[in-house]
Every structure is written in C-alpha cells, then in structure tokens.
Subunit: 454 residues, 2 copies
C-alpha cells in the first residue's frame, strides 16, 4: 500500500512499456494503479499513447480514467469516436452525473446521437432528465444513483431491496427513506441498520434530520448547506417534494475549489479560468482585457496629471509622491474590498447594517491613514526637507486612504445587491479607480497648500 | 422539512422567547432547530443570552453547538467554566478530534486540568495521543472514532462487533479491516456487507484500494489525496502501518477553505485571518503591515524620481505616465504570480521545466506588451502630440511588462523551492517591487530618448 507517485520517472517508465509493446507487462503495470493516477500520467502523453493505454483497460476503468483527465485530453480522446462508441464504451459505465458532465462537453448534435445510442433505457432517461437542469443549480449537480427504501418496509425487506440497488452503485453515501409516493421521509443511518431489530419498520427507525434542496436551488446555496451541516450527501427534491437525486460531497468540493479559484483570479486581474499549461492565446485572452483597462485608466491619470503641468514645471517635486498616492489607494481599496468579498463568499457578513460597516471602515482608515501619513511626512522632511511637500503628501494620503476604504466597502456591496459578482470590484478595477481619484486629490491639495503657503 | 433561515426575524424571535422566560416554549423551539442553526443565532447574542440557551440543551447538543460557534463566542462561553465543567459538559460528549480542537484553544495549564478531569479513560488517552501531533499534520487532523473489524472474522461476527462500536460513533464513513496486529488490510464497503454470504471472512471480501497516510503527512498532502481519489474518509497509520485514526471529508473541506482564504488574503495584502466583524485592532494588525511596506516601497520610488528632478523640471510631461508604468508593472506581476501560485496550490504545475515556463511568460509578455505599448504610443501622440514622450512610454512599457512577467514567475517558484509560502510573492510585494524597477526603467529610457532626439 505504498503511495504511487506520478513524476518524470513513472511517466518515462510507462512510455517505455508502451514502446516495448508487451501487452501483458503493460496490463499488469496498469492494474496496480488507481484510475486517478493513470489519468494523471495520461494528461502528459500524446493522444496516440493515451489511446493505447485506454485499450488496455476494461470499460469500467477506462470510463473512470476518462472523467479524471484534463478537459483538453478528454476532448481529444472522444473526438475520434462515433456516438455509438462513446455511448457503449463510456456513457454506459458512468454514473448519471458523470455521464452528463461528459455529454455536456460535446456538440449538441453529437450529444443527441450519443443519448439515443445508450442501451439501458432507465440510464438514458436519467441522463435526459439531468440534461434539462440549468447549469449552476442543484439539479445539474445531482446524480440519480441512490439506495432508497420505503417507510413501510421492515429491516429484512429493506436489506433485500438494498442488495439489488447497491450492486449498481459505486459508493453508498446515505440510505434514503421515502413513502409510497417517493416523498422523502428521512434517512436510515448505518448505525440503525446494524443495531435495529430485523422486524423494525423503516418509519419507526428513520432519522428525520435530513433536509432536501430543490432542483433549482443554486449551487452556492448547496455548498453553504453541505458545509454548514457537515453533510457527505444531500438529497434533491422536485416541486412535489419527491426524491429525484442526490448531491455528493466530492462534487461540492469541486465547486468550492472552482469558486475560490474564480475569486482569486478576479482579484489578480485574470478574466477566465486558465492554467499555466494553456496555450498562449488562451492566456492572452484571459490577461489582456484587464491590462487594457488598467492602461486605459492610466491614460485618464495621465490627463489628470497633464492638467497640472504648469504646477509640475514650477514644483517638480510634486511628481515624487505620485507612486505613493497610487500604491496606497490601490492597497487600501483592495484590502477593503477583499474583506467584503470574502465575507460574502463565506456567508460571514451577517447583517444588513451598511452604516455600521462604513463607520467601522472609516475608523479603520483614519487609524491606518494617520500612521502612514505620519511616516510619509517624516520621510519627506528628512529626505527632501520640504515642509510644503510634507503637508501635501501627508494630508492627501489620509484623504486617499479614507476614500479607498469607503469605495472598497461600498462597491462590492452594491454589486452584490445588483446581482453582479462582487469579486469584479477587486483587483485591477479598484486599483485603477483609486489611481485616478487619488491623483486628483493629491494635485488639488498640493496646489492649495503651495498657493496658501507661498 | 422546510429549511430554517437565520435572519433578523429569527434572532429577534429567539431573544423575545428568552425575555419571556417560558422554559417550555423555548425548549420546544430549540428542539426544532439544527445545532448549526442554533450556533449561528448564538453568534449574534450576548454571552449571557448564549449561556441561557445552552442551559436549555442536553449535553450532547450543547457540545455540538459549542463547536459550531465562532471562536470568540466559544472562548467567552468556556472562560467562565471550571476545568471539571469543561470536561463534563463538553469534552466527554465530543468526538476525539473535536475535543482536541476545543482543548487547543485553551491555555496549556487549563488544558492539562481539563484532560485529567475526563472521566472515560479511553477517551482521555485518545485525546492525549492526538494532542501530541504537530499542527498541520494528518495526526492533528484525524479522529479516533472508527468502525474496525478484523480480517479473520466472518460477516456475522463483524456485524456483532460493529453494533457495539457504532453506538458511540456519530457518523460511520468507512468500515476498516485490520489484521490481528491492527495493521490496515483494506475496507469493507456497505455494498459487500449487504451482498456477501454471512459466513464469508473479511479477508476474502475486503477491498484493498484504500491507502493510508502517515500521522506526519502534511495536511496539504491529505487534501490533495482525498481530492484526487474522491475519498470521504482517509485512514491514518503509524510508523508500523497500524491504523491509528481517520480523517473525514468535513475536516478537509475546512482546510480547503482556510487555504483558499489565506491565499486570497495574501494576494489582497492582508496578513492575518480576519473578518469584517473583528475588532478594529485586529483589523489594523492584519492590514497595517502591508500598507507600511507599500509606503516604504513608495519612498524608494520617490527617491528614484527625485534622482531625475532636473529632467522633470525641463520635461514635466515625463510625470504624466508615472501611473501607467506602476499600474502596468503591478498588474502584469500580479497576473503572472497568481497563475504560478494557483498552479502550485492545485498541483497542476506538473513538470520542473523552468526555462520552458519563463520562455512562455516572455512570449506572453511580448505579445501583451506590444499591444498595450501600441495603445500608449497612440494615446500620447493624439493627446500630448509629443513623439519623444510616445517613444519613451511605449518602449519603457514593453520593458516593464517583460520584467514583471519574468519576476512574477520566478519569485513564487523560488519561494516554493525555499519552502516559503509562494503566496507571499503576490499582491503588495510584487506591486511594490515592480513600481521601483519600472520607474528606473522609465526615467532611464526617457533620459536616453530625450537626449538622443534633441
């Protein structure tokens, strides 16, 4: 049970086994590996090599491997197959939610052909059902495979029925109890199954703590519920409260990761989900938009400074602190908005007390602003021995910090109210806005102080 | 089974029930709520109100509620209790991993007193064992409660033993199979338990796919393994491969969230884990350090610009594009480092091909750099009609983008090599560094171009 590690050596070893072409040795080697490890190796191989490996796996393993691959590699492998082959080799062997994930990566035309090529009618109808739910909802996230017993059954009958059902299911998370109309009544914990008398009825021993979500509940809410109540599986109900599916924790972990990644990328000025291994064009498409917005903002900044060209010609020292104004405005704005965005994402921003939040940010800004203004004053006196410059940078800095604190708090909250992703407000957006406003404040204050202290 | 929602109304309702002082009504109301909901309400109440609610709950529920509370509220509730009370009311009723989480929030002296006050010797020894593991390791994350059967037992005996064990366990994730020396052999899936003959031996029906981690495996690796292999529970082994505990998916979800939050906060210039509801002093401690570093960096920027004071006095227009240089350097640097940090966090940066990565970043930088340089050139010609300024800003911008791409890639990779959190390189750090270097490049190029084109 030593852990297998995917690295340069294991990839090279597999490649040499492929080149030697000894089917037995290769099959033996693959049989020792977990499907997730095989997939990780295959991500680094050519399509031809990957296809060879697939041909050594049984249909169940090759389907599991397929779903663990990077999307690009999976697309390439599926591309060359006919709809009939896709249905037979993969869709038939996948649980309904995975099958739907695969189908959704295909063109609609191919998708329809694959669906009609599925042999098992029940499996096909489960898949058609799941394909109808809108992306980002509980319905789109759920799978159909569950162990379900009726509340009127006793333990003996339940075990008989569960035996039949369990054979087709990869992993049993929870045993659900429904009534004769398939309406969810509760769950049967393994503990009860083991300890109850064989003649006990389900209705007497079921646990009611379980709550279902609707098929149209958003995936964000699903994540919050499973996280809050520490659930490994969550039942999904239709409008009549009938049990139609279940969402398992592994899918929710994927959603949590995706959402955290998305917020992180937004804060970093990246507009699409990318990885370093993507093509230069994909990377450019994700990075260039924010760079252009940043440059556009800086053009406005240039015009603001340009408006003070005559002041600059007489007092060039005013230029020295331009970076301090823009950097501080950006840093404070990003901090304030990040706290709000994270609070919204983790559902820890509880009440709707906007004035309270702003007041707190202002106090916070005043405190931090006074400290860094003091430092800037000291620095400009010591290094440039210019009292007017000192007054200008320290008072402008304080105003910039206060402004950035307020907008950094207000903008993400307003976006959330408007149902726009508040994470949009972080990163380059807030930095660019604060650059422009900060420079206005700085030159305005500078002009006033130099004029009044002549 | 309607979902309960914690909001202003439900909090106000509970408060009014508390004030009315009718114990029966209050108890009845609380009995309908999930412990996670009770905890969420209690986070918004005073300590006195929270204590009153706790007095209405049985020991098992109040322990569960306690562990769901925010850390501050939990601390306040525990503060007033004696070690004996903490042991009796809470520690006795918590599973070992939760008990350890609670104990670790206490002063060492109190912690020791609580441990010696635990009545159940086995529970106490489990807890002492867990307290020894270093934070951030599998040992510190695991719990001791598991259902374990021996490989020599048949189904009938296994079920008898499982009944005894299951009574004490909140939720059964996996049934582990060990040999006579407690060495992990595999697991018994519910499917097999239901379908196998009652006389089958565990050694014949166990599944070997399960791999354990060591007690000193890092929690990052635990997360990666459970995520990659889609596990809901992971067994933990000691140096002799004996089964000593298990880690469950809910703890791993918490770790994933914490790590994503940490990376996000680092990228936003926040140095400690904070929420908007924390005190002004906590917020200041988390925010001020990076603000001061940013201001310190801007002081160096001021000195760089100060070195070119005579150039500025003759060509004040050079000041116009200072924000464009610093903003672009910052944006590109943050993008590049974010892609690396996220790749490292998600384990998608597979190979060690450093030159390849840098080459790709350089191509990417050249492409984006040329586009935004062109835009800047066009802008400065149209708005300021100054060809020398146009040459200066566009060529400096291209150099800045290339520099920021390379350092944004190199620095997080180097930190990772040195075992320092690469996320440190993102946000304010990279922005500040690129400000200073960018200004050097800009003024150097400007001086050269204005001198040679006189």
């Amino acid at each position: 049970m030593e852990r297998f590690e995917v690295n340069k050596e294991s990839i090279a070893h597999l490649k040499s086994l492929l080149n030697e072409g000894n089917r037995d040795v290769l099959s033996h080697y693959l049989a020792e590996l977990h499907v997730a490890d095989i997939a990780e190796i295959m991500d680094d191989l050519s399509v031809e090599e990957a296809e060879k490996i697939m041909s050594h796996l049984n249909d169940e393993d090759s389907s599991a491997v397929l779903m663990e691959l990077d999307e690009d590699q999976r697309e390439k492998l599926v591309e060359s197959l006919s709809p009939q082959e896709i249905a037979d080799k993969f869709v038939n062997n996948l649980e309904s939610d995975d099958a739907v994930d695969l189908l959704q990566e295909l063109d609609e035309e191919v998708q329809n052909k694959v669906v009609s090529a599925i042999e098992d009618v029940e499996h096909a109808s489960d898949i058609i059902d799941l394909l109808n739910y809108e992306e980002g909802t509980a319905g789109a996230l759920m799978g159909k495979e569950m162990v379900v017993v009726e509340d009127s059954w006793d333990i003996a009958r339940s075990i008989r029925e569960m035996r039949k059902q369990a054979g087709e299911i990869e992993q049993v998370y929870t045993i659900y109890v429904v009534d004769g109309n398939n309406i969810l009544k509760g769950r049967l914990p393994l503990k009860k199954l083991l300890t109850a008398n064989v003649h006990s009825r389900m209705s007497d021993i079921l646990i009611e703590d379980i709550e279902g979500v609707h098929t149209d509940t958003s995936q964000e809410e699903v994540v919050q519920i499973m996280d809050k109540y520490d659930l490994v599986a969550l039942p999904v109900l239709d409008a009549l409260k009938r049990l139609v599916g279940r969402i398992t924790i592994d899918d929710v972990v994927d959603v949590i990761r995706e959402e955290a990644d998305k917020d992180y990328q937004m804060a970093s000025g990246i507009s699409e989900d990318i990885e370093h291994s993507d093509s230069i064009w994909q990377l450019m498409r994700a990075r260039l938009p924010w760079l252009i917005i940043g440059v556009g903002g800086s053009m406005l900044s240039a015009m603001v400074i340009g408006g003070y060209e005559t002041s600059l010609a007489t007092i060039p020292a005013l230029a020295f602190f331009i970076p301090m104004i823009t950097a501080t405005g950006g840093n404070v704005g990003v901090q304030s908005s990040a706290i709000i965005v994270q609070g919204l994402a983790n559902n820890t921003l509880k009440n709707n007390d906007l004035t309270g939040k702003l007041w707190k940010e202002l106090q916070q800004g005043l405190l931090n602003g006074l400290i860094i203004s003091g430092l800037a004053m000291l620095f400009s006196m010591l290094v440039f021995s210019d009292i007017k410059l000192g007054y200008t940078i320290s008072s402008a800095l304080l105003l910039v910090v206060l402004f950035a604190s307020v907008t950094g708090t207000l903008i993400p909250l307003s976006l959330e109210k408007l149902d726009i992703d508040p994470a949009l407000a972080t990163g380059p957006f807030i930095t660019t806005m604060n650059d422009i406003t900060g420079l206005f404040i700085y030159f305005f204050v500078g002009q006033y102080i130099y004029a009044s202290m002549m």
